[in-house]
Amino acid sequence: MTAALDKDLVGLAPLSAEQIRLILDTAEPFKEVSERPIKKVPALRGKTIVNLFFEASTRTRISFEFAEKRLSADTVNVAVSGSAVQKGETLVDTARNLEAMRIDMVVIRHPSSGAAEFLGRRIRSNVVNAGDGKHEHPTQALLDLLTLRDKFGRIEGLKVCLVGDVLHSRVARSDIWGLLKLGAQVAVCGPRTLLPRRIEELGVTVFEHVADAIQWADALNVLRLQLERMEAGFIPSVREYYRVFGVTAERLEKAPRPLTIMHPGPMNRGVEIDSRVADGPHSVILDQVTNGVAVRMAVLYLLAGGKPELADAAKRGGGPGGPPD
């Protein structure tokens, strides 16, 4: 396979289109594992995985944990909430300690951009980035890609707009790389205070108005607005944000065709997204969550050296009757 992954998955920026497709294709057979009464295959039996979370996270951590357990890996969750001053120190020391315990993989979430790459360079174990600062959140983008591919049958040529706080969003950066590499057209829309300067040069279109984005797009990925952005002065108020940039049912009615609606969660209903949209017929938000487990299984499986063509076999070999947890 020319598309084999490197030691770590720190982002989608360094991946080729082939590598991204490999992960998505490998995720397909793993989807079915989660639909069985006994949700377990032995693919990572005997592997030790540490979920190292320097930032609070519920859904990403649980999704990774399910993926690991359904692959029969042994997992440990470490939640570190150090002070800002000690962050860097803790990271390098933690890396050394983990390495000394001879683990196989680390799934890391950290508030500093570049933390996953930093760790990956210093330990031999595989590192999976579960979100680093404002940099990347590659498995989230992979599940977005898988969900879009399920829905449209292709990524190439799709028009996808990210709406909201792109500046502080690691999901947005990973989505932009993944979508562009697979041939989609990408746009962003939000207040200029929440868009990185010169983002156009990454190859994306900028819409000032949500209405224009809705006219253009096949799918919207509505980004979470962190409420502290208002306190930091990026927007005047949550109320105004919803009125100007909220993805509402009224705005979507004007779309020339039904728009697929995604959200990386957790949602602020009535802030960035209207409940009627989130719960509406074109929302694929819960499909994203389901696909998250399959994509993470695929990533862990491939990084552990699993052969993509054997994913099916691994699945069959570990069907009902596989080892208990």
Partner: protein, 431 residues
């Protein structure tokens, strides 16, 4: 002290526009004579420096020596030793020590530590405000009396325009420059690198060029208002260059410096979250580098200063957001500048010597920067023929945080004299 004859070198003295093959005789700590084929007085030590450059010792207006307060990282002695190895005979130490160098006793301490160490001369810069807190004006007069050559709150930008105005006015009595780290704090807040495409990609908070330019503009207006001498530290943007150019045309009393790293590196050096590319002001873009080079060539920017900022290895061994700003530079400044600017046809060699010695010495009214007979024998002999590779493990500085590790450079000090005394001799064991 035994007299010394530096024989047959290319002698470059920008203070007298002198550039020819000549001998330099050093006697009693002073330059006794400069001329072709000088005689050899009794008991003189003769050093054959044919093929090398003999120049006034380099002068660095901007270093951080971390003493008192952070002696694990650098001391006055280790910094002055590193300076000598880099060809510098005088450096100006910024006051952001712990405690802050904001009074005559603290200034006197730096002077004494420098004399005790005996390598390059270390001239203290006093703080503008008490504790660098940006409030009350420090006792400038007493600090100057104790040996301070300038004042600055470097590392903590002067946010209050009133304080900056007061400092510029008050400093006139003592004829010292007020050096400012130009950074509008509310714009720069939380930023860790240049605000540009690389920051957008890496997901790091940017510091816009405007954060520097707003304060450059303010300082120039205040210098004009007060008639004071403002010295602008480590300029990094093309916008700053334009502001200084126009101010100089109006006759504002301004001098400005630029670092070797801002003349040679861009924000792309931050790719891969390399914390050795994290400095403040941040590395900017190609167009900024080009503008800074032209400005240095034209004299809009007066001189090169290293902004030598030592940090412990493990402080830089961190995620980009968490690492401190700053890089060491004393031992690479000349090599980088010569390789990039002289070999890159931006400056002639005499122009480079002027911008690293004569001009900075004049800007801060320091002795040195000249080979005029009668002047103190602060001299550097430079080898431009041999290329060398930057190996931070071999630095005399206590710190290793260089963005130039592994670079091939041409140009290096082989002999440094301060007051006629050999303080660095690459051909010999450590003196």
């Amino acid at each position: 002290m035994q007299p010394l004859l530096l024989k047959g070198g290319r002698v470059i003295d920008p203070s007298r526009s002198f550039d020819q093959t000549a001998d330099v005789l050093v006697q009693d700590g002073k330059i006794a004579a400069v001329g072709p084929t000088l005689g050899t007085p009794d008991g003189v030590e003769v050093r054959d420096v044919r093929g090398a450059i003999v120049a006034p010792g380099l002068v660095d207006l901007h270093v951080h020596l971390r003493e008192p307060g952070n002696e694990d990282v650098e001391t006055v002695a280790s910094g002055a030793r590193a300076a000598a190895a880099g060809g510098f005979t005088a450096v100006c130490a910024m006051p952001n020590t712990d405690p802050v160098t904001d009074n005559q006793a603290a200034v006197g301490f730096i002077v004494r530590q420098s004399l005790r160490a005996g390598w390059a001369r270390v001239h203290p810069i006093g703080a503008i405000s008490v504790g660098q807190q940006g409030g009350q004006l420090a006792e400038l007069g007493e600090m100057v009396g104790a040996g301070a050559v300038a004042v600055s709150d470097d590392g903590r930008p002067v946010a209050s325009s009133h304080l900056m105005r007061t400092a510029l006015e008050y400093a006139r009595t003592f004829d010292i420059p007020v050096a400012d780290h130009c950074e509008e704090p509310t714009l720069a807040s939380g930023g860790v690198m240049h605000e540009g495409l690389v920051a957008a990609r890496l997901g790091l908070k940017g510091i816009p060029a405007a954060a520097e330019e707003i304060m450059v503009a303010r300082d120039l207006l205040l210098a004009e208002l007060t008639g004071g001498h403002v010295h602008l530290c480590h300029m990094s943007t093309r916008g700053s260059v334009e502001l200084i150019r126009r101010a100089k045309e109006r006759g504002v009393r301004v001098t400005a410096e630029v670092t070797p790293h801002h003349l040679t590196l861009t924000d792309r050096a931050c790719e891969g979250y390399d914390t050795h590319a994290k400095m403040n002001p941040p590395l900017r873009e190609d167009a900024d580098v080009a503008a800074l080079r032209s400005a240095l060539q034209e004299g809009v920017i007066d001189c090169i200063a290293s902004d030598h900022a030592p940090h412990a290895y493990d402080a830089k061994e961190a995620a980009f957001d968490d690492a401190p700003f700053g890089v060491v530079g004393l031992e690479t400044a000349f090599g980088v500048a010569h390789t990039e600017l002289v070999q890159g046809d931006v400056l002639t060699l005499p122009e480079l010597v002027a911008r690293m010695s004569t001009i900075p010495a004049r800007a801060f009214h320091l002795p040195g920067g000249t080979l005029q007979p009668g002047a103190a024998a602060d001299i550097v002999v430079l080898d431009l023929a041999t290329s060398w590779t930057v190996d931070p493990a071999r630095f005399h500085s206590k710190s290793r945080n260089s963005p130039f590790a592994g670079r091939r450079l041409r140009g290096r000090a082989t002999l440094t004299l301060v007051g006629g005394k050999v303080v660095h001799d690459a051909g010999a064991a450590t003196p």
